[in-house]
Symmetry: C2
Subunit: 362 residues, 2 copies
DNA sequence: AATCAATTAGAGAACGTTCTCACATATGAG
DNA sequence: CTCATATGTGAGAACGTTCTCTAATTGATT
């Protein structure tokens, strides 16, 4: 009963009195086999506790039925949901999932990609940590490894991609605040360094309505752009003192930003936070400052986190379809793995505004 | 510059004018090689964009430097943190991570384990979905595959294990409530079916102080046991009507349980929830019933979720060291993989009570 | 009766590494 | 000088599968 140690296909073949080729055919389910031989082999395999060695199989077929994922941080609810989505379709198609964290560091990402490539994954899903240069990703493409990007694009890298329509979503959120009567609206965004002319320059160009290459912007910059556009559309000025750059992907960075924001002369009456982490930090900061929502400050967040529904008041937010994003990315990748050859596709998923109680009319 | 397609070690050897054996030695970093040959090989490898094929290497060495993980649900913050912990030490040791979800279903778990075993992982970390029977896990042990259990034990399966000291932690939480003057304390726990005599029988035995085989209890039953022990120690009766079985691992199950609990004649003045999911559901339920914390009901939770710190009031809770649990499990597994041969170890990690504002004195 | 296609089965190569062995060449001790 | 030991190299086996070939058998169709 207890399969002592690992039996190979040769062991099974010997036990069944057939050639390894025949045993391989019935066990691997390819080619022709007669019913009686099939039965013998199956019986022998059962008895020996045979388990196919996927390594050997993959070595010769060139397929591992494994996809590699480079996420920012599994622990972050955004990535956790996206991963779950990926996992759902991977599992449904018999694919395994090799997962790594980049912590938004390019060097860790390069390292991860190298690891996954060596393990011969059939394809990769990556949230690139640098949207400007990514030689390792270009290399992958050059070697024909299927690749799908999530959440961000890379300049000049023509591959499938799925992301939220950040600009539209942010614009919608801010216009919602404006419609409620708010005129001084703060924004807390991570806005990590971008190769361009800094926050001030960016704001100036955005406010002036200059064309901006928005595709390869980091999501937080895209959402800032949506913020500015909403102001433009509604004919409101943008006060740069209300645009706070947290400068890091951490809740504590956002938390630290909040006192700065509220100290501005003519402080904001409403706040827009550009992602889950910023939202959490902002909530921490508000709690620390003993400010009440929405009496002291209205707030609209980005990304619908679990607690937002039962928080008092409920938090009005822009919900990204995180699970669906993961699923879409995985599906696109599988299509590529199966050899489909369309031109690169970009799937921009719509976000949904969920009204709860954190925005009060002014 | 651009590595066209995949170069093998044979290609590199040919380009460098040496044997594949020599090329293998310098590229694989084993055996002796002279400095000049080393340089030639390295240069050739560089030029061809050589990337070692981990499959071929693993096939012959018998090691994949990959560990498999079967988690309940990556999306759940508990598993997400544990996974991050595992990922941290795996990555630090050059190991990859193959991750699957079981959704607490035994059949999915069996399927996952089979997949991972076929992919020849060097070891497995599992949160077993059934603590009674687990033939697939016993089989693994029989075949000598290193295995570490997280969060739960399996009857008769002597392997390394890391978990929270649930009984002690729950006891501490409930005694904290009792010390605050509460006498009628509700508990919302998932309490999925156990092969024993049901909730009533279990309670009767626990209240009577009968010995209970607690090692292989599901965590929620262990925490219920801690709840009962706290009552016993403090000389308080246990009212079975206040022990609510959600019957499922979902927030909505807990949410649905709340009205039932509050409808009991002589309703509770305080509530203990036995994990993050139950806590979230309970918060939803409270929000729905328009009950205020801690005026209408004091609450102490299990597992410290992000929102608990900035919720108003702050939520008093038992914090499990989730990250450290994952790290500990991964470290133990790596030791086994490296051949260490102690008797099976059980690491019970202490939980910490974090006082915030959700418990009011009665 | 001859031909063809479909089915069945085995021998042995192939996948890309590492491992074992045999054989050189140095180096140093006695 | 001789022996042992360390260093360096290549030929070819091995890992456990799938793939390619060849060949034999069957059954139906001309």
């Amino acid at each position: 009963m207890a399969p002592k140690s690992k039996a190979t296909i040769t062991d099974v073949a010997r036990a069944a009195g057939v050639s390894t080729a025949t045993a391989g055919r019935v066990l691997g389910g390819y080619g022709y086999t007669s019913d009686d031989k099939k039965e013998q082999v199956l019986k022998a395999a059962q008895k020996l506790g045979y388990r196919p060695n996927a390594l050997a199989r993959s070595l010769i077929t060139g397929k591992t039925r494994t996809i590699g994922v480079v996420a920012g941080d599994i622990q972050n609810p955004f990535y956790a949901s996206v991963l779950r989505g990926i996992s759902n379709v991977a599992e449904a198609n018999g694919f395994g999932l090799l997962i790594t964290n980049s912590d938004e560091s390019q060097s860790k990402e390069v390292h991860s990609v190298e690891l996954l490539a060596q393990k011969q994954v059939d394809g990769l899903i990556v949230t690139p940590s640098d949207t400007r240069k990514a030689r390792h990703l270009h290399n992958l493409r050059g070697m024909g490894v299927p690749l799908v990007l999530i959440d961000r694009a890379v300049a000049g890298l023509m591959v499938d991609r799925v992301a939220t329509d950040n600009i539209a979503a942010a614009e919608q959120a801010v216009r919602y605040l404006i419609a409620a009567g708010h005129r001084r609206i703060g924004i807390v965004a991570e806005l990590v360094d971008q190769e361009n002319d800094g926050l001030d320059g960016f704001l100036a160009r955005a406010v002036a309505g200059d064309p901006i290459e928005s595709e390869t912007l980091y999501p937080s910059w895209q959402r800032l752009l949506g913020y500015v556009r909403a102001h433009r559309i509604e004919g409101l000025p943008v006060d740069p003192r209300l645009t706070i750059r947290a400068g890091g992907y951490s809740a504590s960075a956002a938390q630290a930003a909040l006192p700065r924001l509220m100290k501005v002369p003519g402080p904001p009456t409403a706040l827009f936070t550009t992602d889950g982490t910023m939202s959490e930090g902002a909530m921490r900061g508000l709690s620390e400052l003993k400010l009440s929502i929405p009496q002291d400050l209205s707030i609209i967040c980005f990304d619908d986190l679990d607690w937002m529904s039962f928080h008092r008041p409920g938090i009005t937010t822009i919900a990204q379809p995180r699970l669906a994003m993961g699923e879409a990315a995985a599906r696109m990748l599988l299509e590529r793995i199966h050899g489909e050859d369309y031109p690169p596709r970009t799937v921009l998923m719509p976000a949904e505004l969920i009204e709860r109680g954190s925005v009060a009319p002014l």
